[in-house]
Symmetry: D2
Subunit: 437 residues, 4 copies
């Protein structure tokens, strides 16, 4: 997999930041600065480090590609809501305007659809005045939408028409794939267009990136639902609180929320295949012993159980698989199970997804989003393209889009992290009865 970064061309303009730093030399970053992909080694053997896998460091360049006085920027937010979107938008605008002196920043509305001439969605010109307070609100002031990437050429037509030189795309997998295609079409057309992505995944499931924005806020919000489920479970005879949290392929939110609260008895994540028999049996055991139980299920768990008749999954406009509702499914099946057993239970099902994802960013995400926006602008002004802004070993990095979307990040079920969850819940290591000890 390629870690190298594409540049639009030679950087000929002196950065206007030069005069803003106390010690500019120590702040500017050259393209040759890297951070190792893997800083861990075994000192017992002759230690060997793999230098071929490393990320280019992000940060301001002493010379930049675009002339701030002439460059036109565009910002687009795509896909589902995620805490921090407004923070990133605000940061890009403030950084571009006040530090680089950019005056033309176009806000593209409702995702890629806002670039589709057939949709005729008016863009909004972004100014510091307009974005000053948006970070105190959840959601995205630009609006968002799924899809819109069916005809990339059309989108590039609009970018060309609007003379956009730097496109900041904030979105997930599908969005980044679209961003990559836009960069490619632009290159073929010979356009002077840098495409810089800020990866958005509330699930925290992008590889080669320590942490994605909005994820910490999501965990902080999710604890309220686990609290409610716990209170409800204890408040009724054989009470069961069932919470569905985000996590399509990766259970980081469910696992972290479980660790943060210590009240969950069963944490179900996509990485651990769910066997209903084993799970129901463990649940019954818990109910009989303790009289209540709390279940925290990531939305992506048990998708194989939901429908085994059609072998082609539905997809939404972003080409994401449309997930069937594991929460409603589990609620129904658990009730059926105990009904059959003649055990009266009181199951309360909570689905807080929209409450979570529409929350304003927590302070740590607010800072992180502000930084992501700033590094994105440094990258864009330097003519970096086809990249996303990453974070690795607490440093901000440039990651090729292709690398970023090449594989997902999963919860390693052999890690101490997941083992902590197992210990916190007391649940079996696996639902595969052969493996369970």
């Amino acid at each position: 997999m390629e870690f190298g970064i594409r540049n639009l061309g030679e950087c000929r303009h002196i950065s206007p930041l030069l005069e803003k730093f106390l010690s500019p030399k120590s702040v500017f970053v050259s393209d040759s600065r890297k951070v190792l992909y893997n800083p861990e080694f075994d000192g017992g053997h002759s230690p060997a480090i793999d230098f071929t896998h490393s990320f280019e460091l992000a940060g301001p360049r002493e010379k930049i590609y675009f002339d701030p006085a002439r460059v036109n920027c565009g910002i687009v937010t795509c896909g589902g809501l995620c805490p921090g979107l407004n923070d990133v938008i605000r940061s890009i605008v403030m950084q571009s305007y006040y530090r680089y002196g950019v005056r033309s920043i176009t806000g593209i509305r409702y995702g890629y659809n806002g670039l589709n001439p057939n949709k005729a969605i008016e863009p909004v010109m972004l100014t510091p005045q307009l974005v000053r307070n948006i970070h105190t609100m959840g959601g995205t002031m630009l609006g968002s939408s799924r899809g819109g990437t069916e005809d990339i050429g059309l989108l590039v037509d609009t970018l060309e028409k609007w003379k956009i030189n730097i496109l900041y795309t904030i979105g997930g997998d599908g969005t980044l794939r679209g961003a990559k295609e836009i960069a490619e079409v632009a290159r073929k057309r010979g356009l002077d267009l840098a495409v810089v992505g800020i990866p958005k995944t509330i699930d925290n499931d992008i590889s080669f990136i320590d942490r994605s924005f909005g994820y910490q806020t999501a965990v902080a919000e999710a604890v309220h639902s686990i609290y409610a489920a716990h209170v409800e479970a204890e408040g009724a005879p054989n009470g069961i609180g069932l919470v569905k949290l985000m996590g399509r392929y990766s259970g980081f939110i469910a696992a972290s929320t479980t660790l943060a609260m210590n009240d969950v008895n069963f944490c179900l994540i996509p990485e651990v295949p769910l066997k209903l028999d084993a799970f129901f049996s463990a649940l019954e055991d818990r109910i009989l012993r303790r009289g209540h139980a709390v279940i925290c299920a990531a939305e992506g768990v048990g998708q194989d159980l939901l429908d085994n008749t059609s072998n082609k999954a539905a997809r939404d406009a972003s080409n994401n698989v449309v997930f069937k509702d594991i929460g409603v499914f589990l609620k129904t099946k658990i009730n059926e199970y105990f009904d059959k057993k003649g055990i009266e239970i009181n199951l309360k099902y909570i689905d807080p997804s929209y409450i979570i994802r529409s929350a304003p960013s927590c302070p740590m995400d607010a800072i992180f989003c502000a930084q992501l926006g700033q590094y994105a602008v440094h990258a864009g002004m330097a003519g970096k393209t086809d990249i996303v802004i990453g974070r690795w070993n607490n440093m901000f990095t440039h990651v090729p889009i292709e690398l970023a979307i090449s594989q997902r990040k999963f919860v390693d079920i052999n890690s101490l992290f997941w083992n902590n969850v197992i210990e916190a819940t007391g649940q079996p290591v696996s639902w595969d009865t052969d493996l369970t000890r």
Copy 2:
């Protein structure tokens, strides 16, 4: 309707509170002190006040009926969770123990079922130590359940066996009806049993009572969901945020939350009959004009629309009508409507009920619950029975159970209060197109 209060008998014991007050005379309340039911009058005509409708004031009596050293108390919480249950339990225990010197306080678990000998649910003896911190948690430490009133005699058997003299019942309509029956059976059996209710209705729909505990907390929690719905609605093209809030027969929570937030465009409550055609037409108009909308629906609205085939409604164990889910219904129907019209919308449905009702009490409810518990103990120790503790014109009162459950409190749709909601949302006055202006 009768406003008079039944007493178990003559009060012969000097209240142990006598020596605890700085000026006891000014604190003790005699049975003859009343507060007018209706303090409003028209000064233009010869003013006339109706003295026959007034409430007995609650408060400590100088002489009490029960001997604190010998009295046995019981506490039971019934029905769905409501913020403040633990506060009331704690207050009854603390007040009984520390102010009256009562040493025997039985916590009956899981509602009236905890009194059913066939269920064999062990009670818990309540002490200050045990309840000291429960008010910081939502829910009820005793557990709750619906129903259990099928055979009142069985329940009274247990009360007799446990020698309970004062039964504090915290619950809604069905619970209070059960409490009344228990009081009657006890009277017939010649038992020395006072039954004192603390009315619990998160919907705030009990008549003859200003405000019920948990209601303010519910509104304070509900605003988070309206916030989320608003952010989601603005974040997508033709976004619609739909929130279902509590309110089976009365829309106080939905109406107050709407007033507190100013972001709702349609507030649907049971008191205003819902006509889908008129509503959808207004919704479409809003979407076409503004591109997004927020709907706040009380759970009891539109029940007539949900099913017109079966003319007998299902009932739960508390004999409450089982409501069909208007939220899911509206979500489906709205999507169908716009689908048929060829208008693409993005509807996000939020059901925060369990998160709301399991919240710990807000500070004002915490104080209110503490007072309700204290006044309940004053009433119980004085041998008042078949009553609930009420609040009227900012004074605490004794209200006969029969009166309290004789009629519901509704949002008056001719009031300024509801008119404020109409103005805040901009919605039509009525869905009946003949009445709408």
Copy 3:
């Protein structure tokens, strides 16, 4: 004391609200509708009600005094910050604009000083667009200041110059006194000026009014400081947490916060004279027995102890007595006391005043403020003057300014309410050792 209301003149204009209500007749309020000052009576004697003391009901009048198309309104906020100020401003603007059709609403900046021509503070024209979201922020968008009432004539000059017909003044004692003087000067000059006050006192100490806005929010915020004081006190050997809360003459915030939290051991309010010897002795006793203590002191307590040399108290620009800092005083004296005794303590002093008063309104205050603003506009448009909007027995009322400021509301230390505090803390009934039992 006079309960009668002054009207500017005959109401000749049909209210534009007439066509907005479903049943206007049931919503409009005539001037003859009243609510009793005292709805309590003793049924044992021949009940007698005092009809001479009653409040005129607030609400929309069918005929109004001012022509909405020509009326000019002004809004001013004075004195210290209080949660809900922006809610009231917003409500007055929205109500005036959308319901009555008023188009001229002047926002006077920085209190009465904004009317002083010598200060040359530009006013701001208020529109729905400008105030739409201000209720989500604490503070006041108009700014506030103390004083400015030295020369009332100057202020009326400006009102005359700006052709203001209705002046909405939001402020406390001093502000209302100023409002009264403005109304009088205007009357003498024959100006068509209605002066309508919305009483602002976070201390909740205005008589003839159930509750003042911001007070519930203040209690809700204050609990965080008591929590912190409790944690600090338990976290150190002989830890003492000392919190100073608002309450210049009346201890409602301190008392209510104490009741809401149950962690306070000493609640000190101005209504109970503080004797240091008795207090320190009780505190020492608590420390020796339990190893920690929490003290909640209203700012107005013990002012007599602070300085007995100068017999003339300092006053600020609003002519309020400048309070000496009882918090710092107690911190010093307590440390000295235990130092002298050779007992090592760890005292942590918390002063959360600015954090509390700058908070956005809690949902219940948000609703209350919105209503206050609406009733103020009904009153102003009807030509009521020299009044404040009150609340009594859950109804909104008109109260003559003179009556409202004629006496303060205090915590009745012979009430059950204060007795509850005594019981919650375990502190002595009084610091006067002769009275203590």
Copy 4:
């Protein structure tokens, strides 16, 4: 500086964790596994990595030093409160008890003083039952105190008497220095005692460690005070909001809070020497231009300005320099400055320190604290001593105490991070007028 770790002796016991993991081999960590101190390199030159500076990885060892059935553990919390203390205590107890099967865990009360036989402070035996819910509360259930390290021998006497084999010390600089001395004395006496520190510094100023627990919670709490200061500043003519935050030598909390809020105009940290003239001049300029200002000052800033007469600073029982109150100093001096200039200002000073440090941990700190406790137990059971648990490049590490306390971590004022603060506030780069541009 030495990165090597001291072990008490050979590990002969099979870890009881062996049978708890799905794939034990992938979870256990050998002593030879390391993480590089510096994973950054310059790819332009021949890249060279310094393997001599690396941290030993923390984690469970396959063989352990202590026999779980016989080992006696002790936990002590020292110094000021910090969010997460209870989380760490709980985690150590749960991990020791449930995963390693340890049954003897002594809670030492009130810091090192709890080990001083002369103080006669009874310890408390810790069990899962006792600590189950403590993580929901701020503070430390063990109590804390400063100092107590005057006679290390006495403390070791007690440890010896109580037969403690692993001492977990949670505290800051002074505490860790004490821990180091305890380890040394124990070694000289030939005791089988492992001393494992969990570094506690709300200021986040420990070197060789990415992040310290409680720091994120502190920032999350601090934003409320900045909010209040901002509202107060805007609410009065020439309003100035002044907030003092924690940060004795390092301004991380002040800087991060400034970045998270975007409302601060002057962020004053110890790393940037404060010159009053330059600062007041910039403040005056801001006030004249904008009419309000918000100042966020770390407690350690400007200490040189407070007192230049005595050249020996006072020290508290932990041998920390007692800081003079820069907040009160600035409040006084700013008022004096503007008074002299004849400019009327309204300065509101907020000191939220105790409210911040007594808060319960935020979810991310809750998880982090739980992990710190777990890794500490892994280390202790493996016989690691004289170390603290660190975190580096998102991995948990063993750091020699001596290294951890050898130097402080400061805000690098030449970094992008600090530059972001400069840009967010608009303040000068430096108060040294020669350097300012």
